[in-house]
Structure formats: structure tokens, C-alpha cells
């Protein structure tokens, strides 16, 4: 099967600076891949390349079947990115923000309500301007904006940062549910314990090049995700030991 993400010797520039100097990365459909590496290694740039936001100047870059060097716009509608920036309008309410981004993606009103409910913002907070929210609540709102567009490829840049324990669990559960429903996920994170528990595979990036790939510790220990449980909304993810 064709990988959802296929980068081969991909080079990308930020200004004149080579942010990626030759990245190799393949991500299969339904896989959760963790990008690991020190600050400035190029993890965020890899995610932005996969989203079609940073152009590849050399090498191969195919995402969701589209060559990013010629057809980046076709990819963008099908990916969802949760990054350091929230992408929210401070003067609008939580519901207004999710509705705007939902309508931009042709979502129905029911999809907006469902997304707000999934992240725990369907109650009083839905009518509160984003400017008055805490950092964690803003992050939840961004997550709702991502959910409402139902992306095929989730690109999560430090997704656990700024979230309390409950919200982190919620995020992990939503990621597993999305994967259970056919989505693919690439995560960049420094919170390795939590991210490795979520991932199928860990790819190390350093100095803008791929250092190596290995199964996530969970897989190395013979533990696999229970996809059926993950696919059921509201059901806490379970793990199953395989013989």
C-alpha cells in the first residue's frame, strides 16, 4: 500500500538556511509515528513540509498521494495541524472559532457541536471569547478546530504542551480514536514517555537529517493498540498484550 507520507532525501529551506538537509520518512496509513530529536533538529519543519506549508526544494515529497513540489494545495485540505500557534481569533467565542473553521471545511453544524463536546467545551465555555481562556482551554479549542475538519493526516507539534493531565489523556484518546477510524498521525514531542506510549514507531531527527527509526517501546515490549476500542467514541483506550 502507498504510504501516506513519503519523504526521500527531502531538503527544505527556511529563508536561505537549510532546515532539512535530507530527510527520509515513510508513514503508513493508520500508523502513529513519533519524531524525536533535540531543539532545532527540524521536527517542526518536517511537520510543516508534510502539511504543504514549507516547500521542498530537492528530493521526493509525496503526501496523501500528491507530490508536494507540484500539488501542495491539494494536500492542505486533507491534513490537520496542531502546533505551537493556536490559529484562533481572540475576539470571537469558542463556538464562533470552531464554526468558522468548520464551515471553511464544509462541516455541518452537528460536526461543530460534536467537536465541542469531544473536547469538553460544549457547556458554558462555548460562548466565552478566546481572549479570556486559559492556555489549556485555547489548546482544547484548537483541538476542536482540528477535529471538525476530520483530517486524514494529523500533524501534532508538541501536542501535550500546556495541557493538564485530564486534557492530555483526552488528546491521546482522540488520537487513538482517529487512528481507529483510518487517520494517520505524525507527532513531534519532547514528552517522550507519553508520546512513545502513543506511537507505533519512533523516528530520530537531528541536524535536519533522519538519524534512524525503531519501534516504539510499547511495540518492543509486545503491546499493541486495541483499535476496536479506540474507534468507539468515549471508550477509554485499552492495551492488549500479544503472545
Amino acid at each position: 500500500m502507498e504510504p501516506v507520507v513519503h519523504l526521500r532525501d527531502a531538503v527544505a529551506l527556511l529563508g536561505r538556511f537549510p532546515a532539512l538537509a535530507g530527510i527520509d520518512l515513510d508513514v503508513a496509513r493508520g500508523e502513529i509515528v513519533l519524531l524525536r530529536g533535540p531543539n532545532g533538529a527540524g521536527k517542526t519543519t518536517v511537520l510543516r513540509v508534510c502539511a504543504g506549508l514549507v516547500p521542498v526544494v530537492r528530493g521526493q515529497a509525496v503526501v496523501l498521494g500528491h507530490d508536494l513540489r507540484h500539488d501542495a494545495r491539494a494536500v492542505r485540505r486533507r491534513v490537520g495541524m496542531l502546533g505551537h500557534a493556536t490559529g484562533l481569533f481572540d475576539d470571537l467565542t469558542v463556538a464562533d472559532n470552531v464554526t468558522f473553521w468548520g464551515r471553511a471545511h464544509r462541516a455541518e453544524r452537528g460536526d461543530v457541536e460534536a467537536a465541542l463536546g469531544l473536547v469538553g467545551l460544549a457547556g458554558r465555555l462555548r460562548g466565552v471569547p478566546v481572549a479570556r481562556l486559559s492556555a489549556g482551554q485555547r489548546r482544547r479549542t484548537s483541538l476542536a478546530c482540528l477535529l471538525v475538519r476530520r483530517p486524514e493526516l494529523w500533524l501534532l507539534d508538541e501536542p501535550h504542551a500546556g495541557l493538564d493531565h485530564e486534557a492530555r489523556d483526552l488528546l491521546d484518546r482522540l488520537v487513538r480514536q482517529a487512528v481507529g477510524q483510518g487517520a494517520t498521525v505524525v507527532i513531534s514531542s519532547h514528552e517522550l514517555d507519553r508520546a512513545e506510549a502513543l506511537a507505533d514507531r519512533v523516528v530520530t531527527i537531528d541536524g535536519g537529517v533522519t538519524g534512524g527509526a525503531e519501534p516504539a517501546p510499547r511495540h518492543a515490549a509486545g503491546i499493541e493498540r486495541d483499535v476496536a476500542a479506540d474507534a468507539t467514541p468515549g471508550v477509554a483506550p485499552e492495551v492488549t498484550h500479544v503472545a
Binding site: G52, L92, A104, C145
Partner: protein, 222 residues
């Protein structure tokens, strides 16, 4: 395109309604400029009456710079530009939506300023048809040009100071056309003013088309 334009225009107008920047900052600024002109030019003398059309449009253009800067700032917020690029919204629709929102704000402002020049400067609005047509053409021209230049300077650290430096010279034909058309209308000889109104309409069409075509490229480059 029109669906996306409606979505973006609705968002920008909702943000203005919630933030009240146009109501609490731009409108008072515009009225203050009118009052200062009245202080500077003897309100009892003929100079103020002769200068009324020019002062009106200078005030509109100064206020438009504020409105355009505010409109551009909405899309400069935390990660919004990337989110817009990922949204798949039609760039031409985004441009039209933003320009429509700015035009709506300017239209309200122009009515307010119109009342201001009648009360403060004693202007007598005779040829209402020409005045209205001039306002519509000039408003579209200013809104489309402003939205285009707002996108051009977005992402630059000096965008607040660069925007008026780039925008005001480009809008000189609007100032001239609007002033001449208003002079004709206030003098009671509207036939002389329609050609200027036509110039404004041509300017509006030109910059609306240029903006719709270029907005996507500007969004990518910023």
C-alpha cells in the same frame, strides 16, 4: 468563491462587532479630524466651504488606513495565516470577503462623516445621486486597494508604518476623483461630476480584479 467571501466577511464583521475597534477608535478619530480641520480653517469663512469635498475624502482615506490595518491584523493573529492556508478557502473569495467587510465599515463611516460635514461645515448635499454613486465607487476602490496592500505588507515587522506609506499614494486618484465629483455635486452641477465617478468605478474594478488574482500569491509569500 462567493460562499467563502460570505464566510470571511461575516467573520471580520463579527470580530469588529465584538471588539468595537471601528466604533470606539476609527469613528471618533475620523470625527476628530473633521473638527480639527474646522478649527484650522475659519468655519465662518469661504475657505472651509470650498475645501469641504477634499477634507471629507482626506478624512475618509486616513480612517481607511486604520480600518485596513485592523483588517489585516485579524489574519496576522497567532497561527491564523497558516490555518487559512490549510483551510482550502478560495483566495479570491478571501480577498472579496475581507474587502466587503472593510467596505461595509467605510460605508457606515462615510455616512457619519457626511452628517459631520453638513453640521460642522454647513455643506448642502444637493445632487444626492452623484454623491451616493461616488461614495459607492470610492468605497469599493479604497476597500479593494487597502485589502490588497494589507496582504502585501503582512508578515513584515514594519507593516504598521509601511502600510500608509504605500497605500496613500496609490489612493491619490480616489482622493482626486472623489473630491472633484463631490465639488460638482455640492456646486449644483452634477453633470461635471459623473466622469470623475466613472474614473473611481474603473479604479475599483481594476484593483478588485488585481486583488482577487494576486491574493493567493500574497498569502503564500507572507
Amino acid at each position: 468563491m462567493w460562499r467563502d467571501a460570505s464566510l470571511v466577511a461575516g467573520r471580520d464583521l463579527r470580530i469588529e462587532a465584538r471588539s468595537r475597534v471601528a466604533l470606539q477608535q476609527v469613528a471618533p478619530f475620523a470625527l476628530l479630524v473633521l473638527i480639527l480641520f474646522a478649527f484650522a480653517l475659519d468655519p465662518e469663512g469661504p475657505l472651509l466651504e470650498r475645501a469641504t469635498p477634499g477634507l471629507y475624502w482626506v478624512t475618509v482615506l486616513f480612517s481607511a488606513v486604520l480600518a485596513v490595518a485592523r483588517s489585516a491584523a485579524v489574519d496576522e493573529a497567532d497561527g491564523v495565516r497558516d490555518a487559512l492556508r490549510l483551510s482550502g478557502l478560495d483566495p479570491a473569495g478571501m480577498f472579496v470577503g475581507k474587502a466587503l467587510a472593510v467596505a461595509a465599515e467605510l460605508a457606515v463611516l462615510e455616512v457619519l462623516l457626511g452628517a459631520g460635514v453638513v453640521v460642522l461645515y454647513g455643506a448642502d448635499p444637493a445632487a444626492v445621486g452623484l454623491l451616493a454613486a461616488t461614495c459607492v465607487a470610492a468605497t469599493v476602490a479604497v476597500a479593494s486597494t487597502g485589502t490588497l496592500y494589507g496582504a502585501l505588507v503582512s508578515g513584515l515587522r514594519v507593516r504598521e508604518t509601511l502600510l500608509p506609506l504605500l497605500l496613500l499614494p496609490v489612493l491619490a486618484p480616489v482622493l482626486i476623483g472623489g473630491t472633484r465629483a463631490f465639488e460638482a455635486a455640492l456646486d449644483g452641477s452634477p453633470a461635471d461630476g459623473w466622469s470623475w465617478c466613472g474614473l473611481l468605478a474603473a479604479f475599483a474594478v481594476l484593483y478588485s480584479a488585481a486583488g482577487a488574482l494576486a491574493y493567493g500569491t500574497l498569502l503564500e509569500g507572507s
